[in-house]
Amino acid sequence: MTINEKQDELIEEFEYLTDWVDKYENIIQIGKELPLIDEQYKQDKYLIKGCQSKVWLYPELRDGRVYFTADSDAIISKGLVSLIVKVLSGFSPTEIRNADLYFIDRIGLKEHLSPTRSNGLLSMVKQIKLYAIAYDSSLLNR
């Protein structure tokens, strides 16, 4: 599946959830599928800035693809990061940095992209793109 196919799948999944509370119920569920970050990486270095809750995100490059693990102390933030990880994890740095994440708006989470500092979806996306750029330009090859 491509990034866009993954996005479309999510859009379809959310389409039937007309009530906002149901949407969030689903986000919480998706959070449970998040590949969890190893406890040793729960450091400030991997903390995403701009969240009212704490979100840690850890990237790993394997065979030219980036895999993410993450966690949060808040369940909804965990759901949000899980959505993004679901869509972007396992792709090449180039694919990730070029990805247009239209699904966020389409499933009604655009509010989380506003430049408020109370939530961190925007920061999560930014951070992931920064990792991808760094890998892409071999700045962070290990």
Partner: protein, 417 residues
């Protein structure tokens, strides 16, 4: 504490109608649910009288003040000074020249921290604040102490969220140049014994600044009775417009302090050699003020006065007790801040649940609460929590809304654990 919920007024009536009808913003749905606005400590909604006063101002007498001989300017100046007089009576200032229009509480506190700092604080001196201050009553003093080589001392509090007055007395020594404490904690709802705090400070020869940002809309304030030296509050938290606030200062202090900002209106004469400053209160109002905000703050004060501050206090305390009783019934919910004297703000912590999650879900159910540290990080550190879910009440809230809140909170918790 057992509260008799029988006697609690369900809603505040104004001329026989629910007072909420005066507030256009309350009559909307968010996410398809009727809005319940419980974020009043952050900012209140505005009654029609204030909104209309603003439109009226811009449609009629809008003009720059104090300097013009023409009709509009005279009218605007008059309205501006009438509003100052209204505020002066509202807090019972001796004279309206003790009432300075600022941008808000933060601006007022910064004004005093900066000018008082230059005037009276030197190397080795100290400033006392309390453990439950808003960042706006911490950072200005930190900055000033940093510049002047002074120390910041903190009155500690107990688990209930009450200041330890014994400890306060011990902190009061000859190094203390000013005490700055909040009247009401925006996070815990604690009403501090400010009169006692002021009395003790004065025995030590120390002036006191009161942060009244969370008091002025809930409690009747008499600056002469309190005998505070400075007192600051914001218009937007008392049904008034944004961008305007009040700094009260005793004339004898304001006369002594150097000016804060320089510019038009705060001077008598300017030459490149030097400047003669204007009389009070103009000395502290540099540049074109927020004329609209200052003039229409009067409508907000009038609104409160018409409802009656005592009636407001009684009603809001009723809501607070009702809500406290209701939430105690919900498993996992704990009230943060259990002072005996409390008003209007109710902070909750839900065991095993992040406040952010609760806030997001309540929002989706149409209920606006605030989550986070409420600009009081040291309070969060004290309780070792990442934040709280805070409800804060205003005159237009109702017990029915509290009922819907408790149901929604229960539903949110069920989803989250």
């Amino acid at each position: 504490m057992e509260v008799n919920t029988e006697n609690i007024v369900k809603q505040f009536l104004y001329q026989g109608e629910p007072v909420a009808q005066q507030f256009p913003a309350l009559h909307q749905s968010v996410y398809g649910k009727p809005l319940i606005y419980f974020d009043n400590a952050a900012t209140t909604q505005k009654p029609y009288s204030v909104i209309h006063a603003i439109s009226d101002y811009y449609s009629t007498i809008n003009s720059n003040i104090h300097r013009g001989v023409h009709y509009l300017s005279q009218k605007a100046t008059e309205a501006y000074e009438v509003s100052r007089n209204t505020v002066a009576s509202f807090i019972n200032a001796r004279s309206s020249s003790e009432v300075i229009f600022t941008k808000g509480t933060t601006d007022g506190i910064n004004l005093i921290a900066d000018t008082f700092g230059s005037y009276a604080v030197n190397e080795g001196d100290s400033v006392i604040i309390s453990a439950m201050e808003h960042h706006s009553n911490i950072v200005p003093w930190q900055i000033m102490c940093g510049k002047r080589g002074a120390t910041l001392k903190v009155i500690p509090m107990n688990e209930a969220g009450e200041l330890l007055m014994d400890e306060y007395e011990k902190l009061l020594d000859e190094t203390v140049k000013i005490v700055a404490v909040t009247y009401v904690s925006n996070t815990l709802g604690t009403v501090n014994p400010v009169k006692k705090i002021i009395e003790l400070a004065h025995l030590n020869g120390t002036p006191v600044l009161i942060d009244a940002a969370q008091a002025v809309q809930h409690i009747s304030i008499d600056v002469q009775d309190l005998d505070c030296d400075f007192l600051a509050f914001s218009g937007h938290k008392m049904y008034g417009p944004t961008g305007i606030g009040i700094l009260y200062g005793k004339e004898e202090w304001l006369e002594k302090l150097p000016p804060y900002q320089g510019g038009g209106d705060m001077i008598k004469t300017v030459t490149f050699k030097g400047t003669e400053y204007n009389d009070l209160p103009f000395k502290f109002e540099a540049g074109t003020p927020h004329i609209e905000g200052a003039i229409t703050l009067k409508s907000a004060v009038d609104f409160i006065t018409e409802l009656g501050m005592d009636e407001i206090s009684a009603f809001e305390t009723g809501l607070l007790h009702y809500a406290s009783t209701q939430v105690r019934e919900i498993p996992r919910v704990e009230i943060i801040g259990n002072a005996i004297a409390k008003t209007s703000a109710l902070s909750l912590s839900v065991k095993g649940v992040h406040p952010y999650d609760v806030g997001v879900l309540l929002d989706k159910m149409g209920i606006a609460v605030r989550t986070g540290h409420h600009c009081t990080q040291p309070v969060m550190d004290f309780y070792c929590i990442p934040g709280t879910v805070r409800l804060s009440f205003a005159v237009y809230n109702t017990t029915d809304e509290i009922d819907r809140f408790t149901e929604s909170l229960q539903r949110a918790i069920n989803m989250l654990v």
